[in-house]
Each structure stands twice: as C-alpha cells, then as structure tokens.
C-alpha cells in the first residue's frame, strides 16, 4: 500500500521550508557582501522544486504491506531498505495529526517495538482512513498472533472470540471487517473541570531553565533596566533593597509564566482525552492542536504509576501513567507515557488502575523509623551548604553584600516535617501478582510492577546506608521512564529485609513465569490442536534479542531516509548471536 498522494507536497514543503529558513538567514547575513534578494528567492524556488522531485520519488518507492506474520515496509530513494516487523513484537501504534495535517487529511503513524533507540516504523504520511486501517489491522493480526499464546483464563473468558479468530486464521487474507471492530469500553473521559484542574496544577519546570538560557545571552539588555545605585540613592531608597525587590518580582514573574505555560500546554495536550479498552488493548485519544491517538496492548504493559501531591490529595485527585517498553528514552518526543491520565478523582484512578492491571489494597512496609534522623541530617546538611555558599557569596561579591544570606535557614523548621514525610511515604509491599513501591516527599509515586515484568533485581548499599544498616532494592523493568531513575525501588529498608526481598522477588518472578507458561500450554491445548505448530514457531523466537525485534534487510545508512531511521544495530546483534 502507498502513502497518501498529498504527502508529497506536504513533505516537500516541510523540507523546503527548513531549507528556505536557512537560505533566508544566510541571505540576511550575506547581504553585506552583495548576496542579493533575488538569489534567495531563486534558491527557495529551487529548493521547493528539488524537494518535490525527491518526495515524489520517495512516494513512488514507499510501500507497506501486511504479510502473514510481519508488517513490511519498503522504502528509500538512494538507499533502499526493507523492514519487517513481526506483529507479536509491536508495542504501541500511535497516530498523530497536527492542524495542517488535519486540514489535508493526513496522519502520521509511529509503530514501536521494544528494541532500538528510535521509532521502528515512522510512516509519514497516510490518509486518515488508512491510518485507522493500519492500526486496526495490526491489532487484528496481533490478536491472531497472540491467540496461540493466550492464557487459558483469557481463552476461557472469550471462547467466541477464540473461535472467530480461529476462522480468520484460516482465511487470513480475506480480512473480515466485522471482526475488526471490537467492543470498546470507555474507561475514562476527561471532564472540562478535570481538564481545567489539570491545567491549574501543571507547572512547567522547564520554562525557567529555557528563559534562563534565552536571557543569559542578553545580560547587556537587562542591565540598563537595573537602576544605577547612584540614581536610586537620589530617591532615598536603599539600593540593595531595590535590587532585592526587583529580584523578587522577577522570580514571581518566572513562576507565574512557568505556571501559565504549563497550564496551557496541559490543556492543549489533554484536550478531549479519552481512554478506552478493548479486549486486548488500551486506546487513548487526546490533543487540541495536534491530535494523538494510539493503542497499548495489555500484554505489553510494564508498570502502572499513580502519583499525587498534597494539593491533589487534599482535593481527592491523582494522576495515572501506564508504561510500556516501546518508547525509547531520550526520543524526540518527551511526552513520556502516552496513556497518562493527567488528573482524576482518586477513586476513579484506583478503579482505572484496577481495570488495567488488577489492584489490591494493603499497607506498606516502611523503612525503619531511625532512618528519619538520616533524612533530617541530609536536609540540614544541604541547608547548611546552601547557606554557606550564599554567605561566601555575600562576602566575596560586593553587590550581594546586603543580601539576606541567612534566609535558607528558615528551612530548618521545614526539615523535620519533610524528613518525616519522606519516611512516611516510603514503602513497599508484595501483592499476589505485583510488587508495589511508594516514594516521594512532595510528589508521591506509587509504582506497581507485575512480577512477570521484572528484569533484574538490584540491591545496593552506599557507604552511608551501610552505617545505618539499610539497603535499597530496585526492581528494574523494561519500561521507558525508568531511565530517569524512576524504577520501582524499596529505599532504605533493613539489610535483612532487603536480602529477603531480593530472593522473594526472584522466586516470585520464576513462579509467575512458570504459571504463565503452564497456562499458555494448557490454554493452547484446550483451544485447538492447530495451535501447536504455531507454538513451535513462537518457541523459535526464544533468545531473540530485544534489539532485533525488527529485521532490516539491507544494511543502509540513514542519510537518504530521514523519516525512518536506519537501525544497523539489529544486524550487529544478529551476528553476536550467531557467533555465540
């Protein structure tokens, strides 16, 4: 199948636009040396023409097909590439459309697998209908693929679905559209008040940093605004006071601005947020200007995180995030978890989490009480350090002489409270199917990791922790947010508990894997005997590396093909495996 014909001019203009900006910049710089305006116009026109030709060739070459067990993409103008993605390995399928794309009826599709550093298949662009078809088709085929691996419990729940899928397996190519439309159950729809609240409670911490980066280059612009001490002296005011007030105003302005930016971006992002579930996957939709929709198979969910802070708790609200292994950390989109419910009533969040993952209540095992003294000491040392620095600054720099360097000492009152809450919020518990941890002084995060998702279990003790006879146990999963150090962790628990917890986690992982294996074997035997050869096929997948979940046939460089970055690594990993 082909891309949308309209994608040719759209892509061309996108590319030429970038080129044109460069040219205009070059032109404006070069006018001094007689680099004429006409030349710039000619350059832009040439760029557009070139881009059109290239994009037409790209369109001609680009082809995607659904084969029996893989989704294939052939692409590339100068360097050709064929990529095959097994349906069973697909983690998420996301569609996004910005305003212009919506006007033109175009959609961008991203298909993610767990391997590699970038999106495995970024299709730019297909028509809106084709996009939905791709999403549905992958889901349908994935279901067919998963049918053989299905657990007995799920299979028993849904004998009809299994039968239907069995039929469709045999007549695989005669794709029956009726089967594509699964019953979708609405899990969550954001209400206007919740959206407003999400906006109000969003503070974008990146804004101050951004402004700082912007304005450090323009200190000369700012300094004229700062009144000269001599000029201030004539008004009879204390110059340091004026400086201090200005600083305070600036700070407040920054906070307000960050808050406004955060609020606007939250509202724009979560406009019309809907979360639905079908039998096998979650589906979300959101966005005002750029519309996102995507699917997350239940099979691929790694971690469910519920977070709140005292404000939200007071108002009875919380935030929920679902993590899969699909999104590579550090990827261009920093949206993180796609199916994050920005804010909703606590009970609603809990019900949602239960729907998604099966929830249990229970109390947390907290770190030993003595550890509060450690937290208190840590806070006090930090405060002392900051105060010391400020004091040193006020001594060394003349202009800062009058600044109240002792101000941070006010934090001493807060330190015991923070230390207490740090201890209070910390904890872990072992449920029947999940390892649950909780952390955070202000923003309290509860993470639920199913035992069968555990990757490695890490138990670490720093020098200081050893002094306090405590340890930290980290349960690593293949999630994507985790790279920021957000793994589920039981922090500062007694060393004996840590050792016990470590072996307990290992045992539970083995038990739950064995359980799933048994269920799967039982399930496929019960469903139908035809599943057996397919099982053998899946058994052939054993030892597949995460990185080579997609197969890239010809080794290429990314040079000619921007939209789908070549991933040479899978081939390399293949070599490793063959050699071992």
């Amino acid at each position: 199948m082909k891309l949308a014909p309209l994608s040719v001019p759209y892509r061309a203009l996108q590319k030429a636009g970038r080129l044109a900006i460069t040219l205009v910049v070059l032109g404006s710089v070069g006018t001094g040396v007689g680099f004429g305006g006409a030349l710039v116009v000619a350059g832009v026109a040439g760029a557009i023409a070139l881009a059109l030709v290239y994009e037409f060739a790209y369109y001609r070459r680009y082809e995607y097909t659904f084969t029996e067990d893989t989704f294939d993409i052939e692409s590339g103008v100068l360097n050709r590439r064929e990529r095959e993605i097994p349906y069973g390995r697909v983690q998420n399928v996301d569609i996004s459309r910005n305003v212009v794309q919506r006007l033109l009826g175009l959609s961008a599709i991203d298909i993610e697998t767990a391997g590699g550093g970038s999106t495995e298949a970024a299709i730019r662009y297909v028509t809106a209908d084709a996009a939905t078809t791709i999403q549905d088709e992958i889901r349908r085929r994935k279901r067919g693929d998963d049918q053989q691996r299905r657990t007995a419990a799920e299979a028993a729940d849904d004998t009809e679905g299994a039968a239907a899928s069995g039929d469709s397996d045999e007549t695989d190519n005669a794709a029956t559209r009726e089967f594509d439309e699964p019953d979708e159950e609405l899990l969550f729809e954001i209400s206007p008040s919740e959206l407003a609240l999400a906006g109000v409670l969003s503070f974008d911490p990146r804004v101050p940093g951004l402004l700082f980066a912007l304005f450090t280059g323009s200190i000369p612009f700012v300094s004229p605004v700062v009144p000269e001490p001599a000029a201030v002296a004539t008004t009879g005011l204390d110059p340091t006071l004026v400086l201090f007030v200005m600083g305070a105003v600036l700070l407040v302005g920054l906070v307000v601005l960050s808050w406004v930016v955060g609020a606007v971006s939250a509202v724009v992002n979560y406009w019309g947020f809907r979360l639905t579930r079908s039998e096998t996957e979650l589906r979300y939709e959101r966005g005002l200007l750029q519309r996102y929709s995507g699917t997350i198979p239940f099979e691929k969910i790694q971690t469910v995180t519920i977070s709140d802070n005292p404000l939200k708790r007071r108002a009875g609200y919380a935030t929920l995030a679902v993590e899969t292994a699909g999104y590579a950390p550090g990827q261009a989109n920093e949206r993180g978890s796609e199916a994050a419910v920005p804010i909703a009533g606590q009970d609603r969040i809990e019900r949602l989490a239960e729907e998604i993952d099966g929830c249990e209540d229970g109390s947390f095992d907290r770190p030993p009480k003595r550890i509060r003294r450690r937290y208190l000491a840590r806070y006090l040392i930090t405060l002392a350090g900051v105060t010391g620095l400020l004091y040193a600054g006020s001594v060394v720099v003349d202009a800062a002489a009058g600044l109240p360097w002792y101000l941070p000492l006010a934090g001493i009152i807060l330190a015991p409270i923070a230390a207490h809450y740090k201890w209070l919020h910390r904890g872990y518990r072992l449920e029947a199917d999940h390892f649950v941890t909780r952390n955070g002084v202000w923003n309290r995060e509860t993470k639920r990791v199913p035992y069968h998702r555990l990757q490695t279990v890490i138990d670490s003790r720093t020098l200081f922790q050893r002094r306090w006879r405590v340890a930290t146990v980290i349960a690593d999963t293949a999630g994507s947010l985790s790279l920021l150090g957000n793994d589920a962790a039981a922090v500062d628990i007694e060393i004996d508990d840590a050792v016990a917890l470590r072996s307990e986690l290992r045992d539970r992982l083995q038990a739950s894997l064995a359980d799933r294996r048994r269920q799967r074997a039982g399930g496929s035997a019960a469903t139908r005997s035809a599943a057996t050869p397919a099982d053998d096929e899946t058994a052939g997948d054993d030892g597949t590396t995460a990185a080579d979940e997609t197969t890239v046939d010809n080794e290429t460089t990314a040079a000619a093909d921007e939209s789908s970055v070549a991933n040479a690594e899978p081939a390399a990993d293949d070599d490793h495996r063959n050699e071992s």
Partner: protein, 152 residues
C-alpha cells in the same frame, strides 16, 4: 561465589595510574603556570595513585559472581555495594570482549544484556579468555533452556 582472576587488579591499578597521571599532569601545568611549588601536584598524584591502588584491591576483594539455577548473581562495589540478580530468562544476549588493557594481561570480560533500563548490561571482568567464552556459552544455554516467554 567465584572470585575474579587476580590479574584484574593490574588492569584496575593501570587504569587508576593513567587517571592519576592525567590529573597530575593537569595539576603540574597549573602549578607551573601560576609558578607555585611543584610539590603540591606531585603530592596529589601520589595520593591518587595510593587511593587507586587501595580501591583496586578492595574492589577485587568485593567482587564475586555465581551462576545459580535460575539467576546470575553478582556482588561488587567499594563505596556503594551493589548486588544484582539477573534472572536467566531475561538474558537477551551475551558478549565476551577483550579491551587493549585486558589483552595486555591476558584477560577478557563477559557482558550480559537484558531489556531492562537500569541494569541493562552487566559486565563480569577479569576472566581468562577461555572462562569468558565458557561463561558466555553456559549463560546462553541456560537462557535458552529457561526461556519460553517473551523477554520483554
């Protein structure tokens, strides 16, 4: 618990020597530039060397690994002690590799990869090349036996 090959200490000491020399060189440069006595950078370098040697010895003493029935277990770390359990089911692939330093003293390391995000690769240094390949083969075999589940 298996200890590493004692020769690994040579590599670690060499590495810290290199680091100490670079730092010492920089310190000497600053000292010459500001025309301060050279005894300060010399003392610093000596201190780094001593610290490096002690660290290498302690590190060797604390390192241990063992392959259990269902997991690879490692203990290591001087200031922060880390114990890692890598379930064999989760092993994605295994490398054995030899850096220039390692070839110098006739050693190799084995690297175990998982799909996890934090402990995604676990390196066991200080193995003889034969041991490294053996370990790689063994882990691979165990991983294949243990599997039956998507590793992600």
């Amino acid at each position: 618990m298996n200890a590493l090959n004692p020769r690994i200490r040579i590599i670690w000491v060499l590495r810290s020597l290199l680091g100490a020399l670079i730092l010492g060189g920089a310190a000497t440069g600053i000292a010459v530039f500001r025309s301060v006595s050279l005894s300060i950078p010399a003392g610093l370098t000596a201190l780094f060397v001593v610290l490096g040697v002690i660290h290498a010895i302690l590190r060797y003493r604390n390192w241990g690994y063992v392959v259990n029935d269902d997991a690879l277990y490692l203990e290591r770390g001087v200031l922060t002690e880390v114990r890692t359990e890598v379930p064999l089911v989760r092993i994605q692939h295994v490398d054995s590799r030899r850096s220039a330093f390692e070839r110098l003293v006739g050693l190799a390391s084995t690297v175990v990869y998982t799909a996890g995000s934090r402990g995604a690769d676990v390196t066991i240094p200080g193995l003889t090349p034969d041991d490294a390949s053996d370990l790689r083969e063994r882990l691979k075999g165990l991983a294949i036996d243990a599997d039956g589940e998507d590793a992600v």
